[in-house]
Every structure is written in structure tokens, then in C-alpha cells.
Amino acid sequence: MKLMNDKYSVSPGNVFYLMYISLVGIGIMNFQQKMILPNGSENDGWISIIIAALLILLLTKMMYVVLARQDIKKASLVHINLRYFGRFFGLMINWIFILYFILGGFVWFQTYIQVIQLWLFPNVNVWPLSLLIISLIYYAVSGGFQSITAICFWGTLLLYTFILPQLYYITPYIRPSNLLPMFNHNLSQYFFTTREFSHEFISCIILLAVYPFVQNPKKSQKWAFIAIGASALIYLIYFFMSYMYFSLGELKITLWPTLSFIAMIELPVLQRMEYFIVAVFLLKILAAISIGIWASCHSAKLMHSIRPSRFLLVILLIFFVCFIFREPSSTAILQDFYSHTGEILVYLYVPLIFIISLIGKNSGKTEAKGNT
């Protein structure tokens, strides 16, 4: 029951890397900050991380149910929308998703450039770097789905390899009592933090676009769940490390807490560790941007038979133009816009199609029976 040529598809295990990359974004550098705003739950933020992860787990399960109930040849975002919402509305929703993926890519791209400008090289001319990133994106996406998966693989390894040495250097400075007393916030603060934090996870919707490119897609479900677990774990580790390392007042003035304590590590040969980490982080950002852009190229192809390579060039041109007209304040606005759109798409759209698909005919099973 193979859907596609082996040349384009990947094995179920790779869903882990694809999901993980979408879940752990550049937000890992400063998500701790979002929890201390006047209505954040501060030292109890870990509860919100767990709740958000469970929510995403539930939504991912829903996505899998929806996908399993589709005709296996048409189990993708584009076809689901066309099937359930009719041609006109289906196309509209698809375009919303395409734009949403592109926006996501651009937000990450811009945030990354901002980290470099604010933290590493305040006086650097960012043009050469951004052109380099844009050409790398072109290279990755035009390489096809398999090459993107490969980049995702390297991007995943990265953060995990650095955690152990970090823990080693940070341990002498941590104060576990910072986390006490537990549960000293009210419900609305937990709600606010959970909502704020779940913005880190909204890119999980990419699964709908990736699904048809996985061999034996039903088997990939457990890998998607493991990916959610792994990303929740990495957020939790960074949460605990930074809340025990910084005092609350200090965290308020620390723009990028994760980078700040990476800077604590000083090796004789490499005194500024954070420069290195940010440089390597490029790989992760590249992977995340590439999946989004690939998904929008592919969706455009499915809908209008637009050649992906052409569409890719258009997208990169849009990137470039947006980048010319960017302003320092626009990053935050775009991020906000992206998070709130994502919130609607993930929390309303997924349950909606889930319910519709339960009411509708189950094409997945009949197809399977028909084949055997």
C-alpha cells in the first residue's frame, strides 16, 4: 500500500525529527520571559508546559484520526479542505494555510536575524547573512522532502548534544528554592501562561502536510507522540535550569535567558560559547523554515499545479522584500499575529475537521479493503 515513490517519501521514524523541529523553535531562547509578565505563572510555569504538551498530544491524535479516515491518496491538508469545505471555501482555507506557513518561516527568519543583531554583533551588516540564509533555504527546499528531513535530523541532534555540558556548568549556580513555594498563582495566571506557551507548539499543524510523504503513515503516530514528549522535555529542562539559575527580578531584565546561561560556559579555547551555539542554531532555524516553505510549495502544487520551484522563488522574493521593509518593532507584531492566527488554526480548525470527519464517511478503511 505504498502511496508514493520511495524516492520522495521517508520512513515513519523520521516523523520524529520533522515534528520536533516544528515544535522547538527559536522560542526556546526566550520562552521563560513570557511567563513572568504581570499575569504569568512564573515559577509554576512548568505546569503550563506539561498542560500545553498534553493538549498538543490530543490535537495530534485528532489529526491522525482525521488523516486515517481519508482516502490514502488524498490524505493531505489540501485534499481534506477541498473534501470537507467544498471547492471555494476549501481553496480559501488552503491559501490561508499556505500564507500561514510562509509567515511562520518569515517570523523565524527575522527573529533569528534579530538575535544575531541584538546579542552577537550589534554593528554587523545583516545583508550578507540574510542572503546566505535565503540561498540556503532555496537549496534545502529545492532538494526535496528527503533533504529537508535530513536537515531536521541534524537540527534535532544539536540542542540535545549541548544539554549535558550545560547542566554541568550551571549546576553550581542553581538554587532550587527559587521554584518554591509551588502553586502560589491563581487560575487565570496558569491559563494565561499555558496559552502564551502553547504558541511555541502551534507549528505542529505541519503534520497534515507532511503526512502523505511518510511510508506507512499510520505507524508514524507513535513517533509524533515521542517528538512531542521530547520537545516538552527540552522546554522543561530549560525552564527549570533558567528559573533556578536566575532570580525573578533578574529574569525580567534578561532578554534571552537561554543564551545568557549558555554564556556562563567558558572553555579555554572557546570563551564565548553562545556565539557558537547561535551559529549552530542556524541549522535548526533553517530546517524549521524549510519545512514550512516546502509545505506551502507542495500545497500550491496540489491545488493549482504550480511548479514548486517557481513558487519557491516567489516566496523567497517575498522574504527578501519583507526583509527590506522590516522595522525593529515589526518582529514583535508579526510574532503576535503569527501566534494568534496559529491559535485559531490549531485550536479551532483541528477539532472542527475532527468532528466533521467523524460525521463524514470513513474513506480510509474502505480504500484499504478495496486494495487488499
Binding site: 541584538l118 528554592s177 513555594p181 502560589n184 532570580s247 556562563m264
Partner: protein, 329 residues
């Protein structure tokens, strides 16, 4: 490259001195000394550049020395600048100098090490009585609730060399009191699980004993927070005898036990003396406030420090175990 810098007040103007390391040939460092004055804390780099043929870089700066007058007036502004600058390392050390910072810095020039003062502090908290400090701990305490900052102090010895002579206690960002180096060990025992430190005890007939702390464990317990604050502290110390007058008998197990008792009493008295002093000064470098915050949901910083000096009882239990002694039973 600026490696060590200082802030001091002189005629209401801020006087900055810097030691600049110039790495010429292998392993040889030339130290350049520069001095500027300005009206605020921000212009140091600009003013220094007017005196240099190459641009000043401060990414490797590891030591900042405050003159006592400057520290009394407040170092909050400088901590703020340092904590916000990504180029500044968290391993940077701060210190207060009882003598003029300029003299202290000049005294280290002959060592050919522009970071001599920083290395003094580091070696002292690793091997001796100084508690663990660096910019991170200072920023942590300064912006966090319930703990005041404490910064090592330097002074010149009569023969013009530099020595660490204790710890400066701050209230908010102002230097209010200096602890002697002998008192530092008691503060260190309260602050962290110490892995080093020594203290000497003199018995009634002038017999001396020098104790080295191998490891210590400090466990505080909040007994009650209202209306009286009571904290119960259990301090366990593993120590060894470094030197001992011959008159003190420690051959028998029983004699050793007695000695341990005496030491416990001695440590307890000294620490209690220190905490009384901290209470009367209304400073909290130990972080009693931070500790209570973590145990008491209703904790409020202002409330806490209003009752800190009068309605706070600190009960201490000390348990000392002496290691590596051959005894005959």
C-alpha cells in the same frame, strides 16, 4: 583590551582607572594604566578612547573595583549596565577597595598580570574563606528578592602589596559595613555547602588549634513566620585538624569528642555573633528573606525586613566531625 577597571569618586566626579592588557609576544603581557574622569557612569569607554591609539574593547573585562566612597554612594547603576550588556561575562568579579583603587591597581602592575585581582578572588573562594562570588551571584541577589549583595574587599598592606581583607555588606546598592576576613568563614558556612575554609580557635591557656573545613552542609527549616520569625538551622561540618598545640590531648576517643563539642560551641557562638550583627545592620547577605519566601506563601519583602532586626530568632545547631585522626580507644 580592558581587563580590570575601577570606579571611584573624586570631588564629586567619577574617576575611572583601567588596566589594559597588551599581548605582544608569546606569554608576555604589557600592562597599560589609564585614568579618566567623567560626570556619569556611562562615558568611560568614550573617554578612554581619546587616550588610546587602538579602539578599546571590554569583552574580556573580568574585574571591576569600586572605591569605598563610590560604593557608599551606590553601585546599582554599574550593576545595571553590566547585567544588560551581552558582552560582559558572568564570571566578572566585583570588589570594593578600602584604599584608593588606583593604588591597588598600580600595585598589581609589577605582576604582569592585568587580572591579578580577579585571580586573587577566585583562588580565595576555591581554597579559602571567601564565599563563592561572581557577577552572576551579584546580579541574582541585586534583582532578586530577599537577599543583599556582598562583595569582597581589597586593601593595601604596609609593604604595598594587595590583600583581600574581608567582605563588604550592601543594603540595596550601598556599602554599609565591612566584615573582616575571619568573619567571612562564618558567612560562607551559612551561604553555601563549603568545600574549603579554615578557622583557628584559642583555648583558655593559649593553646591553639587550626581547623580546615573539608565539607559542610547547611539545612535551614522555617519553624514559624508569624508573629515571630523563627528559623532553625542545622549545620554539619566535616573538618580536619591542620595544626594543634601539643598541650591539647586528642589521643583518646573521649578527648576527641570533647574537642568536637568545644569546636561546635565555638562555631555556634561566632555564627550567632555574625547574625546578630547582620540583624542590627538590617542587611541580609545570607538570604533569610529568600529562604522564607520559598517556604511562606504570604511572604512580603517589606513586611519581612520590618521585623528582621527585632522579631527574628535564629536557632543554630552545629555538628562537627573531625576526620583522619588516629585515636586509641
Amino acid at each position: 583590551m580592558v581587563l580590570t577597571a575601577s570606579y571611584d569618586l573624586n570631588d564629586n566626579k567619577i574617576e575611572n582607572n583601567v588596566l589594559i592588557g597588551e599581548y605582544t609576544e608569546q606569554d608576555k603581557t604589557n600592562i597599560i594604566f589609564r585614568k579618566t574622569t567623567s560626570n556619569n557612569n556611562y562615558e568611560i569607554i568614550t573617554h578612554l578612547n581619546t587616550q588610546m591609539n587602538k579602539p578599546i574593547a571590554y569583552g574580556q573585562m573580568r574585574m571591576i573595583l569600586f572605591g569605598q566612597a563610590f560604593a557608599r554612594k551606590g553601585i546599582g547603576d554599574v550593576i545595571n549596565i553590566l547585567s544588560r550588556d551581552a558582552e560582559i561575562s558572568s564570571h566578572l568579579q566585583l570588589a570594593v577597595s578600602s584604599d584608593k583603587p588606583e593604588d591597588i591597581m598600580r600595585a598589581t602592575i609589577e605582576t604582569h598580570d592585568p587580572l591579578y585581582l580577579m585571580r586573587m578572588i577566585e583562588q580565595n573562594y576555591i581554597n579559602e574563606n571567601l564565599p563563592n562570588v561572581n557577577l552572576h551571584t551579584h546580579v541574582f541577589n541585586y534583582y532578586g528578592q530577599g537577599q543583599d549583595i556582598y562583595i569582597p574587599t581589597f586593601k593595601l598592606t604596609p609593604n604595598e602589596s594587595v590583600e583581600i581583607d574581608g567582605i563588604a555588606l550592601f543594603k540595596k546598592d550601598k556599602d554599609v559595613h565591612h566584615l573582616s576576613i575571619d568573619e567571612c568563614i562564618w558567612l560562607k558556612l551559612l551561604l553555601q555547602n563549603a568545600k574549603s575554609g579554615t578557622f583557628a580557635m584559642t583555648k583558655e591557656h593559649n593553646e591553639n588549634i587550626l581547623i580546615h573545613i573539608d565539607s559542610s552542609k547547611n539545612k535551614m527549616k522555617l519553624i514559624q513566620s508569624n508573629p515571630q520569625l523563627i528559623i532553625q538551622d542545622r549545620l554539619k561540618i566535616n573538618a580536619s585538624i591542620k595544626n594543634i598545640s601539643e598541650e591539647i590531648p586528642i589521643r583518646k576517643k573521649q578527648q576527641l569528642d570533647e574537642l568536637e563539642k568545644e569546636l561546635e560551641e565555638y562555631v555556634r557562638n561566632n555564627i550567632e555573633k555574625l547574625t546578630k550583627k547582620l540583624q542590627s545592620l538590617k542587611v541580609d547577605p545570607v538570604g533569610f528573606g529568600r529562604f522564607t519566601r520559598s517556604r511562606d506563601r504570604k511572604w512580603n519583602e517589606n513586611e519581612f525586613y520590618r521585623q528582621y532586626d527585632k522579631q527574628f530568632t535564629f536557632n543554630l545547631d552545629v555538628e562537627i566531625k573531625l576526620n583522619q585522626i588516629g585515636t586509641e580507644d
